[in-house]
């Protein structure tokens, strides 16, 4: 269950200080997954607190006439995105490990809100690192985190986005490793984090596969999800990996295509496909969507790309904005800008029945959309 590597990717490229904590985390996770009480706590909270299972909804006016597009509505979860699935699972793990202080990074603010939410629910101290540029463009989520009792720490150097926020959260963890749990937000970072996040998000794919069979008596031709760090995509893909006839399509932001134009490098504790120069220096990503504005990606995605099991394409800022407006005007649903990238590609994919991961809602993005 807790893979440390995916093909040539993943691993643990971290200062020695963290290795014992990663070992503790790996042991704790294994014990949790073998404990029926952990699973039943998680399922119960998923049902009563998050609102799972999230519905499948087939668009009526959004899809072109020659295809059907079905949305997996993670946007209807409590806190408005798939991030809560991971935050809840990891907070239960943190509690098992006896940690009282939680640190996290956030880009769009959705993971920060999810983390602040579960910390409020469990009475734990919460510190969220967020790039100053993201604080500007996702301000409603900053206010939400503060109302939930979290301390939001602005990261004022480098790109001032998710990359630097992640580095600062890891540095905080290094300095406070005895007392602090690092609640990572995506399927990135040193092992065992990519595996933990994948398993916690796999509920999306498990539900979606069963729901497709009930509603359509068949599997989709293609499953499409946006990829920043890649947690909602890996969670949705996980349900269909063994169904060879189902195409898996990840959609990256054109200016942050870690899989499309990246190279093997080491970022935030793992070897993966990274936007980096020929010397291994990490480059800046650019996306209208703060959640996709990240130069790395989960190692399992890099392995799925190399094996050919999943394909990775891009959507531009303008394509994502157009899909955002189209979904709003044709279905009455405001998507987050991140899954708007997946929606954009779903429109022109050569497939009849398409399942799209609608990973979050767009309330947080209104200012950014209106600005454009």
């Amino acid at each position: 269950m807790t893979a440390r590597t995916y093909g040539a990717y993943g691993g643990r490229y971290v200062p020695e200080t963290l290795i014992p904590a990663l070992d503790e985390l790996e042991r704790g996770w294994k014990a949790a997954t073998e404990d029926p009480a952990f699973r039943s706590d998680l399922d119960s909270l998923g049902e009563h607190y998050v609102g799972r299972p999230s519905p499948l909804y087939e668009t009526v006016r959004f899809a072109p006439s020659d295809r059907r597009i079905v949305l997996k509505r993670e946007d209807l979860n409590h806190t408005g995105a798939h991030k809560i699935n991971n935050a809840l699972g990891q907070i239960l793990l943190a509690a098992r490990l006896g940690k009282r202080r939680i640190v996290a990074e956030t880009g769009a603010g959705q993971h920060g809100v999810a983390t602040a939410t579960v910390c409020a629910r469990f009475g734990l101290e919460c510190v969220v690192y967020m790039g100053a540029e993201d604080i500007r463009r996702q301000h409603p989520n900053v206010e939400r985190m503060r109302l939930l009792g979290a301390e939001v720490r602005a990261v004022e150097f480098g790109t001032k986005t998710l990359k630097e926020a992640t580095s600062e959260a890891i540095r905080d963890w290094i300095a406070n490793v005895e007392t602090t749990y690092y609640l990572i937000g995506s399927c990135v970072g040193p092992a065992p984090y990519p595996s933990i996040v994948r398993e916690l998000q796999a509920v999306i794919g498990r539900e979606a596969r069963a729901q497709m069979l009930v509603a359509y008596d068949r599997l989709p031709d293609a499953v499409v999800a946006c990829v920043g760090g890649g947690s909602n995509a890996i969670g949705l893909f996980a349900g269909f990996l063994d169904d060879a006839e189902v195409r898996l399509v990840g959609v990256e932001a054109a200016g942050a295509a870690s899989l499309g134009t990246g190279r093997a490098a080491v970022l935030h504790g793992a070897r993966s496909s990274v936007l980096a120069d020929e010397d291994g220096q990490v480059l800046d990503a650019h996306s209208i969507s703060a959640g996709l504005d990240y130069p790395g990606v989960g190692p399992e995605h890099a392995a799925l790309r190399d094996s050919g099991r999943a394909e990775y394409v891009t959507a531009t800022d303008d394509e994502a904005l157009a899909a955002f407006h189209r979904l709003a005007e044709t279905e009455g649903i405001l998507p987050a800008l991140e899954p708007a990238h997946a929606l954009a590609r779903a429109l022109d994919l050569d497939a009849e029945l398409v399942l799209v991961g609608l990973s979050g809602r767009g309330d947080k993005d209104l200012a950014e959309v209106l600005e454009h």
């Binding site: 691993g11 643990r12 490229y13 971290v14 200062p15 020695e16 200080t17 963290l18 290795i19 014992p20 904590a21 150097f157 480098g158 990359k163 580095s167 890891i170 540095r171 290094i174 300095a175 406070n176 490793v177 005895e178 190279r263 093997a264 490098a265 080491v266 970022l267 935030h268 504790g269 070897r271 990274v274 980096a276 120069d277 020929e278 010397d279 291994g280 220096q281 990490v282």
Partner: protein, 222 residues
């Protein structure tokens, strides 16, 4: 940090009494480093210091000074350059060993380097690091990143005690040691002290300032 001023600074450090000089090869996302070294890396990268330029800098320093030189860097540079090739070219340029801050002892064990152990390390990992290390062990005095601290970490003494019980390797203590007083205290426990951020801050005022600072450290250890 490798850069335009490095040759003069290295000569100053040697004149002040340094026994060994670390030369930073900057990385864009240095997880083990606090603000001083992170900013120095940003500046070096902005000045165009990439791996080839850093190796040339090392060569230039090696021509000027006679103390051992140890590049300190991060895995991503080696991943891009080639792990074995990096080790070989660094040695060819004058490095006596190598420190890779985010490369635990069990990853790429074939690459000879100075291993780091931390207060959180288990005895098993300390023994493994001691068996694999290249010449001496780097004792990280605190759970934390590089950068000056007000006082010597209380975690150093128990770490030294545990490590001595497991190995005869020389132990050099670093991270958070910034003043001659702290260096003297650390040297009562360890065989050497590593001063990074505080030396960079002194170097901001030029080679003479760095030489004076290193001389103070040297005197405190006498």
């Amino acid at each position: 940090m490798a850069g335009r001023a490095t040759v003069e600074l290295a000569a100053a450090a040697e004149a002040g009494g340094a026994d060994l000089i670390e030369v930073g090869f900057p990385f864009s996302d240095p997880l083990a480093d606090g603000p001083v070294i992170r900013r120095a890396a940003e500046q070096a990268l902005a000045e165009g210091m990439r791996t080839a330029e850093c190796l040339q800098c090392l060569r230039d320093v090696h021509e000027r000074v006679s103390v051992p030189l140890v590049p300190m860097t991060y895995s991503s540079l080696l991943e891009a350059y080639g792990w074995e090739r990096f080790g070989a070219d660094a040695r060819q340029a004058g490095a006596s060993s190598l420190i890779v801050a985010d490369l635990p002892v069990d990853v790429h064990p074939e690459l000879p380097r100075v291993q780091l152990v931390a207060p959180t390390s288990t005895d098993e990992r300390i023994a493994l690091a001691a068996a694999e290390t290249d010449g001496w062990l780097y004792l990280v005095t605190v759970a934390g990143t590089t950068g000056a601290r007000m006082e010597l970490s209380p975690a150093l003494a128990p770490l030294v005690e545990r490590t001595r019980a497991l190995t005869d390797m020389p132990l050099y203590a670093g991270f958070g040691i910034s003043s001659p007083e702290q260096a003297a205290l650390a040297a009562e426990l360890a065989d050497g002290v590593v001063v990074g951020s505080a030396a960079l801050l002194a170097a901001d005022d030029g080679p003479r300032a760095l030489e004076g600072f290193v001389a103070q450290l040297r005197a405190a250890l006498a």
